[in-house]
């Protein structure tokens, strides 16, 4: 109880809400770096996942590579990338952790993009082709909208993981909320450490909720929330709507 009071006192101390080491600055750094990592990973992962899912070839390779990627410890990646950054004369507090976060975010996005595409009912794809839609039309108008909830789930998983793991960046002198955790440990300042951990947890939850909202807004028409894309019910609805 006493510790909880110390943590609360730490969080409500106005001195901790201003300056370069203040909570708002640390949160913005954390969100910014996590956002950049997830966007960069999406630029790499989504086209690959969509292409493989659309073509239906190479799924096994994608699965294996993604699983291998999941097994890579971010901490080791971070430390291995530091000498690389130093040799390239890049800021070692910024780049190695971003690299590690991009590699952390790619596997869930790639597997979900692929899985989302494969879960689209093959009969629907056949029907669309039968109506003369080109490959690009099938991808953009049928497969992508139907796979979107699963793709977004992948991005959500990746984003929550990145927000939680970006704390490692503090080890290499980086910013973000990890600073409170790492500095708190180094200075035997337990309230600082716990406050940092709590803020990271809150930010991860906020990220999760934000993606939930995006998922609801972008849910394909004809799909109820939580319904599997390409399921018989949705097909029925789509067929009804299309007036076939």
């Amino acid at each position: 109880m006493e510790l909880a009071a110390h943590v609360l006192a730490w969080l409500t101390d106005p001195a901790h809400w201003q300056g370069a080491d203040g909570i708002p600055v640390r949160i913005v750094q954390h969100v910014e770096a996590s956002g950049v990592s997830v966007l960069a990973a999406a630029v790499i992962a989504l086209p690959i996942g969509l292409a493989v899912g659309h073509s239906g070839r190479g799924g096994f390779v994608i699965g294996s590579v993604a699983n291998l990627g999941r097994a890579l410890p971010s901490f080791a990646l971070l430390l291995m990338l530091i000498p690389v950054a130093v040799n390239l004369r890049l800021d070692f507090s910024t780049w190695p952790i971003l690299g590690a976060m991009v590699l952390l975010a790619i596997p869930p996005m790639i597997t979900n993009a692929h899985a989302g595409m494969r879960e689209v009912d093959r009969d629907l794809v056949e029907a669309a082709r039968g109506m003369g839609m080109s490959g690009a039309q099938v991808l953009l108008r049928l497969e992508l909208p139907l796979a979107l909830p699963v793709i977004l789930t992948g991005m959500r998983l990746a984003a929550v993981q990145v927000v939680a793991t970006y704390t490692l960046g503090a080890v290499a002198g980086g910013g973000g909320l990890g600073r409170y955790i790492y500095d708190g440990f180094a200075r035997q300042d337990t309230p600082r450490m716990l406050a940092g951990a709590g803020l990271v947890a809150l930010l991860a939850i906020a990220t999760d909720v934000a993606f939930e909202v995006v998922a609801r807004i972008t849910a394909p028409h004809g799909l109820g929330a939580g319904e599997r894309p390409g399921g018989t019910e949705s097909v029925g609805r789509l067929i009804q709507e299309s007036g076939v």
Partner: protein
């Protein structure tokens, strides 16, 4: 159904679904701009990082580096820092970034001491590691101009750094000495004799040489320790089955060599040694020895004293006095300190040769001189 060229009667679902990817991109764009706005607000006075962040969608990398550079520059801990800031920028220190371990702003032999004893306020403090590879890299790449390395660190010579002379004697005596659980010492009094023999022969030159062999020449600490013991005439006195001793160490290479020296000396004299090396910082090792998870490990007189008295400044520049004070602090914790070595491993403040030449730096006090 056949698609018609006029498109007027396209399937309803294709029309309805079409908007979705577009809407997703709109939402992403909205998110990105919110992010930029938020960072602009937080950046406050310094508009440059925020402006760079505005280019986030085009060049995310730039935005990240621009945002992260003020990130690491945490303010010095002193509340007087802002008041002293205007005066401090006129000094050499006020133009230089200082890199050290994250706990440095709260340590009397680090930033607190530099402020109190030398009156130094640096442009910024960059939290790195305790005299490790990050600090060396930060000095080499110009991320910081002044760094904290340990006086026994061979990279000062290897990388051509200039160790500034501690002319006002901020650093107290950080001589090396084994710390042991009192219960173990009482059960095995000969351990004191065995380890004191090592401490007696461990000079500063010897310690730096041991460190160089491990960190620069990449030799195995085990081999380095074995060779040193042989060269210094340590002969096994025999004996066997004297019991098992758990030797610990913190996580830097000097500690590994020292812990190896202690371990091999004990093994050569009838003890079985369990090695629990690389346990982390003092914050991990002290609880470990207090709870009996390890029996002994190499320590530093002044640093441990200040750790135990919470920076009250009980450590002095006299190793004998500091050792006595430390023994008193360790007693209630069930720990004892054995004889200390002549070799020290103190905080040293280093700059690159280029920085030393640019500002004419020899002593730490030179950093307080007016900037050119």
């Amino acid at each position: 159904m056949i698609p018609r060229p006029d498109g007027g009667n396209r399937p309803a679902w294709s029309r309805k679904q079409r908007g979705n990817p577009v809407r997703l991109f709109r939402i992403l764009a909205l998110g990105a701009s919110t992010l930029v706005l938020a960072s602009a607000c937080a950046a406050g006075g310094s508009a440059t990082p925020a402006a760079t962040a505005a280019a986030a969608s085009a060049q995310p990398s730039q935005a990240a580096s621009a945002a992260a550079s003020p990130a690491v520059q945490s303010a010095p801990p002193s509340t007087a820092a802002s008041a002293a800031a205007s005066a401090a920028t006129n000094t050499i220190a006020g133009q230089l970034a200082f890199g050290g371990p994250p706990e440095c702003p709260q340590r009397p032999f680090c930033l607190i001491g530099l402020q109190k004893v030398y009156g130094l306020t640096f442009k910024s403090f960059v939290p790195l590691d305790a005299g490790g590879p990050l600090t060396v890299a930060a000095l080499e790449t110009g991320k910081v101009q002044v760094g904290l390395l340990f006086t026994s660190d061979p990279s000062i010579q290897v990388d051509g750094f200039v160790l500034l002379n501690d002319d006002r004697h901020l650093q107290a005596s950080d001589n090396i000495a084994p710390v042991i659980r009192t219960a173990v010492l009482q059960a095995h009094p000969d351990i004191a004799t065995l380890l004191n023999q090592i401490s007696a022969k461990l000079t500063q030159a010897q310690l730096t040489s041991l460190n160089k062999q491990v960190t620069v020449d990449k030799s195995d600490p085990k081999d380095v320790a074995r060779a040193w013991l042989q060269q210094n005439g340590f002969v096994p006195t025999g004996g066997s089955n004297k019991g098992t001793i758990v030797v610990g160490s913190t996580n830097f290479s000097e500690q590994l060599v020292l812990a190896e020296l202690y371990s091999q000396q004990l093994e050569a004299n009838g003890y079985t040694v369990t090695r629990k090396f690389n346990l982390g910082s003092r914050e991990v090792v002290q609880p470990a020895i207090q709870s009996g998870q390890i029996d002994l490990y190499p320590e530093y007189l002044a640093s441990l004293t200040e750790y135990l008295d919470n920076g009250a400044g009980l450590a002095t520049t006299d190793p004998a006095k500091t050792s006595a004070v430390l023994a008193g602090l360790l007693k209630p914790k069930g720990e004892s300190v054995l004889a200390y070595a002549p070799a020290t491993d103190e905080n040293g403040f280093v700059v690159t040769k280029a920085t030393a030449q640019q500002y004419g730096l020899v002593n730490v006090s030179d950093l307080a001189k007016p900037a050119p």
